[in-house]
């Protein structure tokens, strides 16, 4: 039997069992009367109701930025505030020097980053996906989520996923207007940009593990350092 035939046969068996189980009525008793209702299921997917939004994000834009920074720092990311994108190259160069990292940078192919005046620094800058010997990367992000200091990054021509995981140092450039309250706001922006990308990464601090005696170690397999360059100030007065 071919792989496809075997899979189709298994599918039929699974769905037959599911049909029997779901119609047995036992489940409804166990689950407060939740019953099979395909129309309700389709409606849920169409309406995409949001769940509870933690009250901690009920703030104005400046308050959200403050919360984002606080939360990111709490998970061992570092944050530098910059007035303008022009300041990014020097900030990257300074950060790498400060951490004794090679003066090399792999940059996401985004014009607003690659088009900066990198020649003014001593950095060797290239663009594209990461290779094994890349030590530092610079990427953008779709949003920064204030709720937990989480970055949401989407794959695409301007967002190679390898940049987020292979290099020892991951630097993310984030504009102030990209800081949102909750993850759901991030989903809205990702949906608005087009079809679901191959990869969406929610990144909250650098890589870590607690697998040895529950002692937390940073830099398990992914980046040892996550540095966020937060550019600009909150738009004044526009309360959410």
């Amino acid at each position: 039997m071919s792989l496809a035939d075997a899979s189709a046969a298994a599918r039929a068996r699974i769905f037959a069992t599911l049909g029997k189980s779901l119609s047995a009525g036992r489940l409804a008793a166990a689950t407060d009367g939740a019953t099979a209702d395909p129309a309700a299921a389709d409606a849920r997917i169409a309406a995409r109701p949001r769940g509870i939004r933690p009250a901690r994000v009920d703030r104005d834009p400046a308050g959200l930025i403050a919360l984002f920074v606080e939360q990111a720092v709490a998970v061992q990311a570092t944050v530098a505030r910059l007035a303008k994108p022009d300041a990014v190259p020097q900030a990257v160069a300074d950060y790498l020097a400060e951490h004794n990292q090679p003066a090399r940078l792999r940059c996401a192919p985004q014009r607003w980053l690659t088009g900066l005046d990198w020649a003014a620094t001593a950095l060797e800058v290239s663009q594209g996906p990461a290779a094994a010997d890349d030590t530092a990367s610079l990427t953008g992000a779709v949003v920064g989520v204030a709720e937990t200091g989480t970055l949401m990054l989407a794959s695409g021509p301007a967002g190679p996923t390898t940049l987020n995981f292979l290099p020892d140092t991951h630097i993310v450039a984030l504009r102030a207007e990209q800081v949102v309250a909750s993850y759901e706001d991030g989903w809205d922006r990702i949906r608005a940009a087009g079809p679901m990308p191959r990869t969406v990464n929610m990144i909250t601090g650098p890589s870590r593990t607690g697998d040895i005696e529950q002692v937390i170690q940073l830099g398990a397999h992914g980046p040892r350092r996550l540095h966020i360059l937060l550019i600009g100030e909150a738009a004044a007065g526009s309360a959410r």
Partner: protein, 480 residues
């Protein structure tokens, strides 16, 4: 993996005598328990989120066929492939065939409990592939040829000294006198060794914490980043997931994500939560060229029709075992199957049979701590009680115990007889213990008196004292 749950009494006794294990288990309280408590306290909406998550999953399970169909269609629309496996054997056959078709040699793996359940590594090895576990804990136990002892911390049962020895024995290409005592050094060494594995792999296999019906996305939640390297670098990404992982929308996933890390490791959010939808797109600079999802039933569809159905809401956070006094005393290996602890006691009899797993629902004090921390509000003790009833009804427990229960039930159903018996029993115990105030031995209570004295009863039976009007203030508040 072959279940050894039937030997629970023996394995548990050995675990209690294992000094290394007991030392490793001590890390649970300051680790998991205190971190969870601290993080939950910071989110006043936590309990309301639990109610929402429970409702989402109930709705999804009631419409599981519909949501699975939708998920399948969305994966295909994104250019991926969906394969169905009713049994463990079918699942491993599919993965092996996919690895063959990909011309693979080395296969990297992210942590997956379903992969453990279907014994995927054994199947891959038998087929001539070299599976490499990349989660630090999984890597350690793969080197030691052990099974995970905890669903989110597979090497929880090991001390750093044991891990040091394991690495010294396995990494013979490194200088024998290198410093390797600290968790930092061990982590760095594993990072360096596994980097080459990531870069050389032909196929990457991950599990899934969620399957999103709306988009056809699979979701992994990790801290190390190994899952992402596993699924991003090779040409083929295979996701192995059980069917109950599906949730309707990205918003629903998000609601449950707010509970997962807090309940599991006590983090507000895990370092990496990754949504994968289909293979790389035409203009993507990296990512896998092929994307396969293997959906495994292995008994879950049938479990939906039983009293244990609610256990399928489980999101595998591990909070129940982290807070379980029995798990804390014997660790995960004693349970003898992939999912240990209270959720194992609720799920395993339904998946591997009451005959094989009948000891597990009995390995509980019914203190209810597991239920009090379960983010999905699974009635764990109720389900365990259901399996105990099954064990009794199907005459699987020893005749002596069933006979004893029968006698007790006969007496307990006849109040006057019951009162007479308890009065006599209390009087006898009080008389025997009249001098010391306690009993050194008592027939039928050797399990207790072998290790400690049994206090002698004072002042008659509870019913007698109640009828005499004794209503002393409770010594302390009971916390429920």
């Amino acid at each position: 993996m072959q279940p050894t749950s039937l030997a629970f009494k023996e394995t548990a006794r050995r675990a209690l005598d294992d000094a290394q294990l007991q030392r490793a288990l001590l890390n649970m309280k300051p680790g998991f328990q205190q971190r969870r408590a601290g993080t939950v306290a910071k989110l006043p909406e936590f309990d309301a989120l639990r109610d929402q998550a429970r409702a989402i999953k109930n709705h999804t399970l009631a419409n599981l066929d519909h949501y699975l169909t939708r998920f399948e269609a969305q994966v295909q629309a994104a250019g991926g492939h969906v394969h169905w496996a009713a049994t463990a054997q079918e699942a491993t056959d599919i993965v092996v065939a996919l690895c063959r078709a990909a011309g693979a040699r080395t296969v990297t793996k992210g942590k997956s409990m379903v992969a453990e359940e279907i014994a995927l590594n054994d199947a891959l090895q038998a087929a001539g592939f070299h599976p490499l576990e990349t989660d630090l804990g999984e890597y350690i136990i793969q080197l030691r040829d052990e099974c995970p002892s905890h669903i989110i911390a597979p090497a929880l049962h090991l001390t750093r000294q044991q891990i040091t020895r394991t690495f010294q024995e396995a990494h013979t290409h490194l200088p024998a006198d290198r410093p390797l005592d600290e968790p930092r050094q061990l982590t760095d060494e594993a990072r360096a060794v596994l980097r080459d594995g990531f870069l050389g792999a032909d196929v990457g296999i991950t599990g899934a914490n969620f399957l999103v019906a709306e988009t056809g996305s699979t979701v992994i939640v990790t801290n190390e980043g190994n899952g992402d390297l596993t699924q991003t670098l090779p040409k083929t990404h295979i996701v192995v997931s059980s069917i109950e992982k599906v949730v309707p929308t990205l918003e629903d996933t998000t609601t449950i994500l707010r509970l997962l890390a807090r309940s599991a490791t006590g983090q507000e959010f895990s370092a990496y939560t990754t949504f994968s939808t289909g293979p790389r797109r035409a203009d993507d600079p990296d990512g896998p060229e092929a994307f396969h999802v293997v959906l495994v039933d292995n008994g879950r569809a049938a479990l939906l029709a039983t009293e244990a159905a609610e256990a399928l809401r489980c999101i595998r956070c591990g909070a129940c075992m982290n807070h379980c006094p029995v798990y804390g005393a014997v660790g995960g290996h004693a349970y003898g199957w992939v999912v240990p602890g209270p959720i194992g006691a609720a799920l395993d009899p339904g998946l591997i049979g009451v005959e094989t797993a009948r000891h597990l629902p009995n390995a509980s004090t019914f203190c209810g701590r597991c239920e009090s921390v379960c983010p999905m509000r699974i009635p764990l003790t109720t389900i365990m009680r259901h399996w105990r009833t099954q064990e009794h009804a199907r005459k699987l427990s020893p005749g002596r115990i069933r006979w004893g229960l029968g006698v007790w039930a006969y007496v307990a159903a006849r109040p006057r007889l019951y009162r007479l018996c308890t009065r006599l029993g209390v009087a006898a115990m009080a008389w025997v213990g009249r001098r010391r105030g306690h009993l050194r031995r008592w027939p039928g209570a050797e399990g207790w008196t072998r290790y400690r004295d049994l206090p002698a009863p004072q002042g008659g039976t509870f019913v007698d004292r109640w009828q005499r009007g004794e209503r002393g203030a409770p010594a302390r508040e009971t916390g429920r």
